[in-house]
């Protein structure tokens, strides 16, 4: 190149002519053509002249580079055909023929065809051909410009793929930019918006500021759900939260629905988050179903409690009733006295009212108990009982922010038991632990449920990180009448002991390191347990 330049300067000097000189003009034009040729060779665009049979008549270096396989000179007189799939080859040839004779779609617009060349790792390379008739080709030549659009195609492809993946998901997904504006939504999002009678604008949602939209609806939102979601999204956008989730009901006229909204940062330079609304109605309904079952179990336990406690409950109730009756009769006497001592009368009526309140409280408490259960013992896997109980208690644990950890022996542990009653015991122990930690407002709230297989027994351990058992209570927590007044849970323990002992097991309390540990054993079912 340097040599060329030198030569050019020398020849100019030798000519001794000005820029306007004809000889110089001639040479200048040649030089210009030379420059264009060089430009052509450097450009990322391939230029070629094809004949009507699809053979290369001329091509720049860039074209050869784009095509690969051969050098520029080797392509001369050759066609692309052998490189291409037969159908492709045909299509390309037709394109070039139409370009040569100008029979393509439009004389003004170049014909366009995509040519797929076999590529290396990244899949086939995609070239786009723009062809027009050669002005001097007599309908037998065409001019073609072509470029590699593989990267662009791949980008579009992956975008389409991303959208297809998003669209294939049943969750409603929107991508927000750092200002909270929606930049993309999936099909489920659009369908949901349409189903909810959203306006056209909301239906696609693109361009809408989601945070503002949330803030706008907060007027008719008693639980501040919209406001809380707006705050959550903002917090994730700001980086104050790594993740935000919110469960909320969204009932339609036809059915009850619940959604889980989760907000996750995109992790991009310009910020932005993904907002996903997942239909959790089934889970919520399952939970509701579990809750119903749990209540039935608790009910049965309470009825037993009532049976066990009937005498003391009657006693408890008869005291205020006796007092109230005596006060009432005293009030009648006082009311007939002359002169009337109104202060005393009112004081007696007040006392009477106090006793009636006391009785009412007892009756109210009693009313909350009540129901029945059946007793049938059969071979039962203890780990399944634990799972059942944990499932039943899980919603309560979640609400009280208690983590349940299972530490179960891997092989099955089979006992002969009334499954429901054993679950009831576990539920009682778990509820006690939850209650204890909740009452004490424990900062760490974990429950470890352990299951071990001893030589002839199975041992279940429920250990909490609560305040621990008051030493004053000790084993008395299992006695029927020893009820912890604040929670009424001592009763559950009495029932639990009754059940465990009825199964030939033992229940006891241990002082753990910072927490209460309740253990019970059940004899293994010898026939069923592998030795």
């Amino acid at each position: 190149m340097a040599q060329n330049t030198t030569e050019s300067v020398e020849s100019q000097a030798a000519a001794g002519a000005g820029p306007e000189g004809g000889a110089y003009g001639q040479r200048g034009a040649e030089s210009l053509e030379n420059l264009f040729t060089q430009l052509c060779d450097w450009s990322p665009i391939g230029y070629a002249v094809f004949d009507i049979d699809g053979r290369f008549i001329e091509m720049n270096e860039a074209g050869a580079r784009l095509l690969g396989e051969r050098s520029r000179s080797e392509w001369m007189g050759e066609s692309l055909g052998p490189l291409l799939e037969p159908t492709q080859s045909e299509r390309v040839l037709r394109h070039l023929q139409e370009a040569c004779d100008g029979s393509g779609e439009s004389r003004e617009q170049p014909c366009v065809v995509n040519v797929f060349l076999p590529g290396e790792q990244g899949g086939p390379r995609r070239l786009q051909f723009f062809s027009r008739p050669h002005p001097a080709g007599g309908g037998r030549l065409c001019l073609t410009a072509f470029q590699d659009i593989s990267a662009e195609a791949r980008r579009r492809e992956s975008e389409r793929q991303r959208q297809a993946v998003l669209d294939a998901l049943s969750a409603h997904i929107a991508v927000l930019d750092a200002t909270g504006r929606i930049t993309a939504v999936n099909a489920a999002w659009r369908r949901f918006a349409r189903g909810n009678g959203a306006s056209r604008e909301l239906e696609t949602g693109i361009g809408l500021n989601y945070i503002d939209a949330c803030c706008d609806v907060s007027a008719e939102d008693p639980d501040r759900l919209a406001q809380r979601s707006a705050e959550g999204i903002q917090a994730v956008i700001n980086g104050d939260l790594a993740h935000f989730t919110l469960e909320y009901p969204c009932h339609s006229a036809q059915r009850q629905r619940w959604y889980l909204m989760s907000v996750t940062p995109l992790g991009l330079e310009f910020g932005g988050v993904v907002v996903v609304h997942m239909d959790i109605s089934e889970r919520v309904r399952n939970e509701q179903e579990s809750r119903r079952r749990r209540e039935e179990v608790a009910h049965a336990s309470r009825l037993s409690s009532v049976t066990v406690l009937a005498a003391s409950l009657v006693h408890e109730l008869s005291q205020p009733l006796a007092a109230a009756q005596l006060y009432a009769e005293a009030a009648v006497v006082l009311g007939q006295q002359e002169p009337l001592n109104q202060m005393q009368l009112l004081s007696v009526v007040g006392d009477m009212r106090g006793q009636v309140d006391r009785a009412t409280q007892i009756v109210d408490g009693l009313r909350r108990f009540m129901r029945r259960g059946e007793s049938k013992k059969e071979s039962s896997r203890l780990e399944e009982r634990i799972h059942e109980a944990v499932t039943l208690v899980a919603p309560l644990a979640r609400r009280k922010r208690v983590r349940l950890k299972l530490d179960l022996v891997s092989e099955p542990v089979i006992v002969r038991a009334n499954a429901l009653q054993i679950e009831q015991v576990l539920v009682n122990l778990l509820c006690n632990a939850i209650e204890a930690m909740d009452l004490a407002d424990s900062p760490v709230r974990n429950i470890r449920v352990g299951l071990e297989r001893l030589p002839e027994q199975a041992q279940v351990t429920v250990a909490d990180t609560g305040p621990g058992l008051d030493p004053e209570w000790g084993p008395r927590i299992f006695e029927v009448l020893e009820t912890r007044k604040e929670s009424g849970m001592g009763m559950g323990l009495a029932i639990s002991r009754t059940i465990v002992e009825a199964h030939g097991g033992r229940i006891w309390v241990e002082s753990g390191s910072g927490g209460t540990v309740l253990c019970f054993t059940l004899p293994l079912h010898q026939e069923s347990n592998p030795a």
């Binding site: 005498a311 008869s318 005291q319 009733l321 006796a322 007092a323 005293a330 006793q355 006391r358």
Partner: protein, 205 residues
């Protein structure tokens, strides 16, 4: 005897104790209310007439134990038990130990007063009987051996003739002893004398 009767109340439930005290005070009774068995036993004066109204079931010393403690001290005041849930064995034990009555809570002031009246009447009768018995024993103390023998045979329904034959004395002498017995015992008739002997059963043995 001139002392007015006292109703002593024992219940560990403050509501019940207060309402009982009020209802009975308004009905004109003299009341002593105790919340614990220990207080009651400390405050008790067995010489005063009246009755006891005790709650059967209490933490610590229960009604039956109070009843036992009273009987150990020779106190014969009638006891009315109040119970919320009187099981039969407890009731039987209490009645065997001399409880006069049972009331299941809740009860009306009226029914309580009826039982208290009965109890006070019982106490009054018991006290009168005690006094009478003492008088009879005192009078009988003045009888000679022979007079005592005659009184026993007379009240056993023997005729003067039979008595004379049994004691190997003359019917006349029997007549004389008999007149002296009637006089010393302040008896108006043989029936009267019989009643006195019955009231002080075991007399002369």
């Amino acid at each position: 005897m001139k002392e007015s009767p006292v109703v002593m109340l024992l219940d560990d439930d403050p509501g019940v104790l207060r309402s009982l005290s009020l209802a009975l005070s308004l009905a004109g009774y003299q009341i002593e209310a105790y919340a614990t068995a220990e207080d009651l036993l400390r405050g008790l004066d067995p010489s005063r007439p009246g009755c006891l109204v005790l709650d059967l079931r209490m933490p610590g010393m229960d009604g039956l134990e109070v009843q036992q403690a009273l009987s150990d001290r020779g106190c014969s005041l009638p006891v009315i038990f109040m119970s919320a849930f009187g099981d039969i064995p407890t009731t039987v034990r209490a009645l065997k130990a001399g409880a006069i009555d049972f009331l299941e809570k809740p009860f009306s002031t009226e029914s309580l007063i009826a039982r208290i009246e009965e109890a006070i009447e019982t106490d009054r009768r018991q006290r009168a009987q005690k006094v009478l018995r003492q008088t009879i024993i005192e009078r009988a103390g003045h009888l000679t051996g022979r007079e005592m023998e005659v009184m026993q045979l007379v009240t056993a329904g023997l005729s003067n003739k039979d008595i004379a034959r049994q004691l190997e004395i003359s019917p006349r002498t029997v007549e004389k002893y008999r007149a002296r017995v009637m006089e010393k015992m302040h008896a108006d008739s043989i029936a009267d004398l019989c009643q006195m002997v019955a009231a002080s059963s075991g007399l002369g043995n």
